[in-house]
Symmetry: C2
Subunit: 351 residues, 2 copies
């Protein structure tokens, strides 16, 4: 019998945002790895790639020409997962086991830069502020469409995350329903707000700043931290200090601070394994259903798959799919590693 | 405006086992793929590999020697995610945001065969019956340990599923808590049973057999089907026809029928892309907490990642991680494809 040591002993942690547990096995990072290695491209990308369907002036799959855009550029996804068609649906196929309903939506692609070879950490703050402006505009425009109740802004970065083109870009899927993960989050946020009249994340950020050990970056308006309940080895979350519920409510100062923390965090990520660090990231914020949603609190999740090196990722498979998410390194340890990494990109030459 | 056509129009489907939705985009399978391809090994494996730590007689990482086993062989995982140590835990670190508790558990590895080169579809029915016996014994032995309340039997197959050794084997993670996914399932099963006095899956299987279109294989005691709410392109579930709540309650006939359907399903899987088909699979059944659990109904999930070919998988990334699982082909179409595949393994020579 020994006393519980959260840094050493296997344990479960609770995620109050989605009401799920994660299994943490601190000792397990020591096991040897004989499994699959990812192939990473170390090839230098050109500034412009004539075969890239996202570069300015080039032709896309549907035959359309991209404009000679200079900042960011948004277009409708040619292979969207949802369609805008209005569908007549009689709820008579409602059935305990065969419950289905049509879903209306719009998918857009957001090119972050005309430059084929620049990722977020390598861009200037002003360029990132431009992307934030684009996200704000899209959130507003899409959110104003009558049947759109949720706008999911996200990025898949790196071929290991299913991204088929290194040209820096993200996506937006806007739709009539609240997606499963967002609905779970909303339920938690709402019940906390109804009870405490403060947002869950406002109080969480305060508790984390006090604890200190999971903070990666802090500036005047945002905090980047490894959540206490993170499932991916180097998962992080950027949270606003103020209880702002959507990106369109940022002050000018907040936009700049958000751009800065985005650049810093993604720079640290690249510096971790001296590679263009793959991840899926995305913003969770207020739905666009016309309600006020004071319970919502802007945050951006980063889910990076890498575990040990630029080529060895964490596999969320068997036990994780059937049982529960499991991690091999504590969030505190990951935060410490990220915190200590330089803010200067490993590729940047000395100025 | 058009009428809802479930075979053509984007829609959401509801999974009553875990109360979550999945987004189905039937038209999306048509999009071209320029992304990452998996590398698959087409190398012929030897019957015995002197460098394999699972082959009979060989030495494992911890220095122990495997016996000259003849059927299946079980040992404790040398790099277990949980430990058996009893931990003293005072619930004073209970906190809204920092909720953690120690978890006790045991991980075991189950070698399916002494042969390095045989996977389930290539084994004899009698060999598969032997694996089922091993699962039954482990479920009983582990379940009898006082602090073990759940026994998760699963297999990760293929390097794309994080499996580091092609020697046929699965794992068992037994622990004190109900893992997240199992707890969700139990809640659904229980509320259905309390209301209907039949198990949810008994009624579901009947409804599926009546509908027919998602059935892949049926024998006297089991059905293999693509669930109405499947998220992976070729996801299936093997369900017992009888409301049997755990593997140890199988009749001798049921064990044989289960071995047969396992062989048939995995054969069809291999025949789909003429490759040793990767997947994570696992059994969901009654917890071992000493209660009766009449709501539980034995089933085995198969989560295979491949989508288009032996090298192109479905990426569950950005939208899927932040929003909701999404699939690009309907479950009905997948079931039809699997149903029509031969039961004779593509590698087997004409007898
Ligand atoms: O124990 P293994 O086979 O080395 O590890 C594999 O299966 C485990 C259980 O699903 C996962 O946690 C690991 O990420 C995966 O690589
Ligand atoms: O739309 P893309 O970038 O081709 O596709 C990628 O992102 C989508 C949204 O996360 C996923 O559904 C796809 O599986 C993935 O390959």
């Amino acid at each position: 019998m020994k006393n519980f040591d959260i840094n050493e002993d296997p344990h479960r942690r609770f995620n109050p945002l989605i009401n799920e547990w994660v299994l943490v096995s601190p000792h397990r990072a020591k096991r040897p790895w004989q499994g699959q290695n990812e192939t990473i491209s170390t090839e230098e990308l050109p500034k412009y790639d004539p075969t890239c369907y996202l570069c300015p002036g080039n032709v896309r799959a549907n035959g359309m020409n991209n404009p000679q855009y200079e900042n960011s550029f948004v277009f409708e996804n040619d292979f969207a997962a949802m369609k805008q068609d209005e569908i007549i649906f009689e709820d008579d196929i409602k059935h305990t086991f065969f419950k289905a309903k049509p879903e209306q939506g719009i998918s857009r692609v957001v090119c972050f830069s005309p430059r084929h070879d620049l990722t977020l950490p390598e861009m200037e703050i002003a360029d990132i502020e431009n992307i934030i402006k684009t996200w704000q505009k899209e959130y507003t425009d899409l959110g104003n469409i009558k049947y759109i109740n949720h706008v999911q802004i996200f990025e898949n970065k790196g071929s290991v995350m299913g991204c088929s083109n290194p040209h820096p870009h993200g996506q937006i899927w806007a739709q009539s329903s609240l997606p499963t993960q967002v609905e779970k989050t909303q339920n938690s946020l709402k019940s906390y707000y109804d009870k405490n009249e403060r947002t869950l994340l406002e109080d969480y950020v305060k508790a984390e700043l006090k604890a200190g050990e999971r903070i990666v970056i802090e500036n005047d308006h945002f905090v980047a931290l490894v959540p206490f309940w993170a499932i991916w080895p180097y998962e992080t979350m950027i949270v606003s200090k103020r209880a702002v519920n959507k990106i369109t409510n940022f002050t000018a100062e907040e936009s700049t601070a958000f751009a800065k923390i985005l650049k810093q965090l993604t720079t640290k990520y690249d510096n971790l394994f001296n590679t263009s660090f793959p991840y899926s990231s995305g913003i969770h914020q207020s739905p666009t259903d016309g309600l006020l949603h004071p319970e919502w609190h802007f945050h951006m999740h980063f889910y990076p798959p890498l575990l040990r090196s630029a080529t060895v990722k964490k596999f969320m498979v068997g036990y994780e799919m059937l049982g529960e998410s499991q991690r091999d390194i504590t969030p505190e340890k990951s935060a410490e590693i990220l915190r200590q990494l330089s803010d200067v990109h490993y590729k940047s030459t000395v100025k």
